[in-house]
C-alpha cells in the first residue's frame, strides 16, 4: 500500500505508538491523535539514549501510514500481545513477568496544584487504569499495585472513607473493562477490616473475571509485608500444634506456598516502581521482593504516564540479574 524510503519492510499490523492522553474520566478507547504524540514520543526517546535513535527513525518511518487501518484494528477487542508492537528500545523477551507499583504521591500532587486531596486520589486511580492497560498491551503477565497499607488507617477518617468509596468505583469500572480486555483480578491483604460493601464488590469482580487468561491484576488492600509473613508463621505454627508437621519440616518452599501471593503464576515481582522520589519499600511485599529490581521515579503517581513506564522497562531490561551467582559473560554493564 505504501512504499517507504527505507529498505526495511514495514511490519504487519502496525499500530501507532501509544500517545500520552490528558486525563479524562471517560477515556476508554486506545487510539487518539497522532500529531502531537509523535513529536513528544521522539523527544522522549532521544532523552533515553542515543543508540536507540536508529530504532526511533525506523519506527517513525513505519508510522507514516494513514490512520484508518490502525483505527479499524484497535477499535475492536484487544489484540493478543504477540501482534502488538512494543515501543522502540524494548525487547519482548526481556519484559518483566510481574511488575509491582507503589502508587505514592497523590496527595502531594493535589497539594502542588491547589486541588483537594480527593482529586489527587482520583487522578491516581485514572493513572492506575491507564497503567494496567499499557502493561497488558506490552505483555506483562502480573501487575500488583499497592493501594492501601495497614499503616494508612492513621490518615483522617474522611480521606479513608473517600478512598474506600474510590476503590469501589474503580473496581466496578475495572470489572467492566476486564471483561472486555481479558483481565483477571485478585485482592491480597487483610480483608476483614475493609467495609462490607467493598468486600462484596471485590468478591463479585473476582468471580466474574476468574476465567480470563490475560493480565492478572493484584490489588494490595490493607496489606503489609510483615503482616503477610506473620500470617504464614501463624498458619505454620497451627499446623505444628495440630501435629501435622514437625518444626524441622518447615522449608522455604512451604513458606512461599502459604504467602498471600501464591494465587498468581509469577508470585515474585521482577520490577518494583515507586513514584514520588522516596527511596523506601514502606512495608510492601518484603519476602517477594528478595530479588526484585527496584526503580524509583521522581514524579508523583498521577503524572506517571507511558513515557515513564517505557523508561522504567528499558532500565529493567538493561540490568544484569545474577541472583548471587556469577555471570560468566564478558560484558560489563
Amino acid at each position: 500500500m505504501l512504499s517507504l524510503p527505507f529498505s526495511c519492510p514495514p511490519p504487519k499490523n502496525t499500530l501507532s505508538p501509544f500517545q500520552k492522553k490528558p486525563f479524562s474520566p471517560s477515556s476508554s478507547s486506545v487510539t487518539c491523535d497522532r500529531a502531537i504524540g509523535k513529536r513528544n514520543k521522539s523527544n522522549s526517546y532521544l532523552s533515553i539514549s542515543l543508540p536507540k535513535l536508529s530504532k526511533v527513525l525506523v519506527s517513525e518511518a513505519s508510522n507514516a501510514m494513514p490512520g484508518d487501518e490502525e483505527k479499524e484494528i484497535s477499535a475492536g477487542t484487544m489484540d493478543s500481545p504477540e501482534e502488538v508492537e512494543l515501543p522502540a528500545g524494548l525487547r519482548r523477551e526481556l519484559m518483566p513477568n510481574h511488575v509491582a507499583v507503589i502508587m505514592d504521591g497523590n496527595r502531594r500532587w493535589a497539594l502542588e496544584r491547589g486541588l483537594p486531596v480527593e482529586q489527587g486520589h482520583r487522578a491516581g486511580g485514572q493513572a492506575m487504569t491507564e497503567l494496567t492497560r499499557l502493561c497488558s498491551k506490552w505483555g506483562v503477565k502480573v501487575l500488583t499495585v499497592f493501594a492501601f497499607s495497614t499503616e494508612n488507617w492513621i490518615r483522617p477518617k474522611e480521606e479513608v472513607d473517600f478512598l474506600m468509596m474510590l476503590f469501589e468505583e474503580v473496581t466496578k469500572t475495572f470489572s467492566e473493562e476486564g471483561a472486555r480486555l481479558n483481565f483477571r483480578l485478585s485482592v491480597i491483604g487483610d480483608k476483614s477490616k475493609l467495609p462490607k460493601s467493598l468486600n462484596q464488590i471485590l468478591a463479585r469482580a473476582e468471580q466474574a473475571l476468574k476465567a480470563n487468561s490475560g493480565l492478572h491484576a493484584v490489588i494490595a488492600l490493607n496489606y503489609s509485608g510483615r503482616y503477610d509473613i506473620l500470617q504464614v508463621c501463624q498458619k505454620v505454627a497451627n499446623h505444628v500444634k495440630d501435629g501435622l508437621i514437625q518444626p524441622e519440616d518447615i522449608t522455604q518452599s512451604m513458606f512461599e506456598e502459604q504467602l498471600e501471593t501464591t494465587g498468581t503464576k509469577y508470585p515474585n515481582p521482577d520490577l518494583l516502581i515507586r513514584t514520588s522520589g522516596e527511596h523506601r519499600i514502606s512495608n510492601f511485599m518484603l519476602w517477594q521482593l528478595a530479588y526484585t529490581e527496584l526503580y524509583f521515579v521522581e514524579k508523583m503517581f498521577p503524572d506517571f504516564g507511558e513515557t515513564d513506564l517505557i523508561e522504567a522497562l528499558s532500565s529493567f531490561q538493561q540490568r544484569q540479574r545474577r541472583y548471587g551467582g556469577y555471570k560468566y559473560s564478558t560484558s560489563t554493564n
Binding site: 513458606f255 519476602w287 527496584l294
Partner: protein, 346 residues
C-alpha cells in the same frame, strides 16, 4: 606608595603559600602515592587503595612526615564535618551490601582476588567514619547463601580471606576493646567451613563485653532463610512448651485447664518471631547502602529494611567514600521527621 608596597607584600605572601602548597602536593604524590600519575608505570597504585593492599611490606611505606601531616589534617576536617552533621538526627543502624569488588578488579586490571582485598580496606575506612559519626550498629553483607553457587576457587578465596581477617581481628583484640566494638556473625553458620566457623565463634566470644559499637557481619545469610529459621525456632519453642505442659498435667490430672492454655499458646505474635531472628540483637536499619548502582535487595534484611531509606550510589564498593556517607545521612535527616511521626502513630 603604601598601597603598592602592600600589594607587593600580599603578592609575596600568596606566592610563598602557593609554593608551599605545591611542594606539599609534590611530596605527597611521591611518597604517599608512589609517584606522578603522568609518568608512573604503576597507575593502579596511584588511583586505588592498592598500596594499602600490599601491606606495610612495601619499600615506600607511608610513614613519612608529609603523609602523617596530611592524614592528621584530613582527620581534623572530617571530625569537624561530623560535628556539623550531628546537629540533626544521626542514623543508629547502617547496613552495607558490598557489591562491585570483582568489577573493580576488572576495571583496574588487577588480579581477581585483589578486588576483595581493596573492598576490605574500603570497609575499614567506612567503619572508622561510622565510629566517628556515632553510628552504633553497622551491618555488612559479606557472604550470601546464594554466593556458594559461584566458582569453587572464588568461594574458597573468600573463605580464606575471611579466615585470615577474623584471625587478624582476634590478634588485635586490644584495639577492638579500646574502641568498644562488639562483633556478631549473623547467618546460618553451619554452612561455613569448620575452621571459619570456629574462629568466628571465638571472635564473638572475645568481644562480647564491648558496648560502644556493634558490628554485625552477615555470612551464609539470606533473609528468607532467617525468617524460616525464626519460624522453626518459635514453633519448636511452642511445641516444647506444650509438651512440657502436657507432661506436668498428666502428673496433676488437670485436663480442662490444659485445653484453655493450648488456646492461648495458639498464636505466634510479632514479638515472638522477632526474638528468634538472627538479627534480633540490633534494631531496625536506618539506611541501606548498595554500591555499584544496582538497586535491589538481593535477599538481605528484607524484614528489617521495611521502612528504611535505600541508597544506591554508582560507585563500586572499593570506591565508596566519605562523600557518599555524608550525602546519605543528609537524605536521612530530610525524611526523618516524617518517618518518626509515622512510627509514633503506628
Amino acid at each position: 606608595m603604601a598601597v603598592t608596597e602592600a600589594k607587593y607584600l600580599i603578592f609575596l605572601v600568596v606566592s610563598i603559600i602557593r609554593s608551599a602548597e605545591a611542594a606539599l602536593v609534590e611530596m605527597w604524590t611521591v611518597y604517599y602515592r608512589q609517584g606522578l600519575a603522568i609518568i608512573s608505570d604503576y597507575k593502579e597504585r596511584i588511583f586505588s587503595w592498592y598500596r594499602f593492599v600490599m601491606g606495610p611490606d612495601t619499600e615506600n611505606n607511608g610513614d613519612s612526615v608529609a603523609s602523617k601531616l596530611f592524614g592528621t589534617l584530613n582527620g581534623f576536617m572530617r571530625k569537624f564535618l561530623f560535628r556539623i552533621l550531628s546537629v540533626g538526627p544521626v542514623p543508629n543502624h547502617l547496613a552495607f551490601i558490598l557489591d562491585g569488588n570483582r568489577r573493580y578488579a576488572k576495571k583496574w586490571k588487577l588480579q581477581e582476588g585483589t578486588g576483595h582485598k581493596c573492598g576490605f580496606w574500603a570497609l575499614m575506612s567506612i567503619l572508622k567514619y561510622c565510629n566517628e559519626l556515632g553510628v552504633k550498629y553497622v551491618t555488612i553483607y559479606a557472604f550470601s547463601i546464594d554466593n556458594f553457587k559461584r566458582r569453587p576457587n572464588e568461594v574458597q578465596y573468600v573463605m580464606d580471606l575471611m579466615h585470615e581477617k577474623i584471625e587478624g581481628l582476634l590478634k588485635e583484640e586490644s584495639i577492638m576493646n579500646q574502641y568498644g566494638v562488639r562483633v556478631y556473625f549473623i547467618g546460618n553458620l553451619k554452612l561455613l567451613p569448620e575452621r571459619v566457623r570456629v574462629v568466628a565463634e571465638k571472635a564473638m566470644k572475645a568481644t562480647e563485653n564491648n558496648k560502644n559499637t556493634v558490628l554485625l557481619i552477615c555470612v551464609a545469610y539470606t533473609s528468607t532463610d532467617e525468617i524460616v529459621h525464626a519460624a522453626q525456632e518459635s514453633c519448636q519453642h511452642e511445641w516444647d512448651e506444650i509438651q512440657a505442659m502436657k507432661a506436668s498435667e498428666s502428673n496433676d490430672g488437670g485436663e480442662i485447664i490444659s485445653n484453655e492454655n493450648q488456646e492461648e499458646h495458639r498464636f505466634i505474635n510479632l514479638v515472638d518471631l522477632e526474638k528468634y531472628f538472627y538479627m534480633g540483637v540490633a534494631p531496625d536499619v536506618d539506611i541501606l547502602f548498595r554500591t555499584s548502582g544496582e538497586t535491589r535487595l538481593s535477599n538481605f534484611l528484607l524484614w528489617q529494611t521495611s521502612t528504611c531509606l535505600l541508597y544506591s550510589p554508582r560507585a563500586l564498593f572499593p570506591e565508596l567514600g566519605l562523600r557518599h556517607l555524608v550525602w546519605s545521612v543528609l537524605n536521612f535527616q530530610r525524611v526523618y521527621p516524617y518517618l518518626e511521626r509515622r512510627r509514633k502513630q503506628v
